[in-house]
């Protein structure tokens, strides 16, 4: 029995102490709580993992996706892709749904505000592949999906759905009158 317990301790301890930053090539975003992290994982659907509510092929990126890290079975939630453009990670991970991948990026580790096991993914590759895919497809997908919004400036200034919301409720979300008073006061 003692031998079994000793073996369990020896197996479990290195996993708990694993440093995922050692081989990372992630670029810094100069964030207060960023920690480089490169690891292998399975791309999965959290609704399926947690609630048994599964969809074919992760619903093609319409759902949020997670990474089940192989070293410790931790569920990592990628919140962000590698574009400084207010863009998430689901579209980047969706082509790899159900696959074993290697990712490199930044963990955000600030337990005081609840930031635990959340991630910015910078590059992805299927395990066994040589080539990395940079996690920057979101804006290309958006351009293809919104040809009527082509033009100058970043996507978020041209997005029809965002413009509709701002037209209806203002930049503060409190209506045109509040916007007008705020702009007169602050600008």
């Amino acid at each position: 029995m003692i031998r079994l317990l000793l073996a369990a301790v020896l197996v479990a301890a290195p996993v708990a102490a694993q440093d995922f930053s050692a081989d990372s090539e992630a670029k810094s975003w100069n964030l207060y709580a960023e920690v480089p992290a490169r690891f292998t994982a399975i791309v999965s659907d959290p609704l399926c993992e947690l609630a048994g509510d599964c969809a074919d092929q992760c619903e093609a990126g319409a759902r949020q996706l997670v990474l089940i890290r192989e070293a410790d079975d931790a569920m990592i939630f990628p919140l962000k892709n590698d574009q400084p453009a207010f863009t998430g990670a689901a579209a980047e991970l969706a082509p790899f749904c159900g696959q074993q991948v290697e990712v490199d990026g930044l963990m955000i580790d600030d337990a005081e505000i609840g930031a635990v096991n959340v991630y910015l993914v910078q590059k992805i590759r299927a395990v066994g592949d040589e080539e990395w895919t940079v996690a920057n497809r979101w804006t290309k997908d958006w351009e293809q999906a919104n040809p009527e919004a082509a033009g100058e400036g970043p996507w978020f200034r041209r997005d029809p759905r965002i413009k509709e919301q701002i037209d209806a409720e203002g930049y503060l979300g409190l209506g045109a009158e509040t916007d007008a008073a705020f702009i007169a006061d602050w600008f």
Binding site: A12, R63, F86, D110, I113, A115, N117, Q165
Partner: protein, 151 residues
């Protein structure tokens, strides 16, 4: 035998506490937030990236597919996986229309690896935007309102 107890304790401490838990029905009142800006600090401190000050950025991030959360009054963040039956949670319309709103929600809570995951089944009340942070912080980021609109 007395050696077994510390060994067992060491095993429990060393093994990662990563097992999924059963869902639990909960009622949560909280603000629909952009979890990336809130957790990363990329736009400033947590108090500046909620409410009306951050509403335009919350629209950008929601449309951009960044996960939304419900920020409860006690500071707990619930990562929303489904909103009132809508699983199109990466950039879908449902979350966009309620950016920065304070909601009363009923749903199932799943805890795993330090995060709270919430499947919202019913929004029992929508209080609209009640967190008027623009009076303290202006807008975050500062370019949220374009120059031509600010003149």
């Amino acid at each position: 035998m007395r050696h077994l107890i510390p060994l067992a304790a060491a095993t429990l401490l060393a093994a990662p506490a990563y097992a999924a838990t059963e869902g639990e029905r909960v009622q949560v009142t909280g603000e629909v937030i952009d979890t990336w800006c809130y957790f990363s600090g990329v736009m400033g401190g947590p108090e500046a990236v909620v409410g009306s000050a951050h509403h335009t950025c919350a629209l950008w991030c929601s449309a951009g597919g960044i996960p939304v959360g419900l920020l409860a009054e006690d500071g707990t963040v619930y990562m929303v996986l489904k909103m009132e039956g809508d699983a199109a949670n990466a950039g879908g319309d449902t979350n966009l229309h309620i950016a920065s709103h304070t909601l009363e929600a009923d749903g199932m809570l799943y805890r795993r690896d330090g995060l709270n995951y919430l499947v919202v089944e019913n929004v029992t009340a929508d209080r609209d935007i009640i967190n008027a942070t623009h009076t303290d912080f202006g807008v975050t980021p500062g370019f949220a309102i374009p120059e031509e609109a600010a003149q």
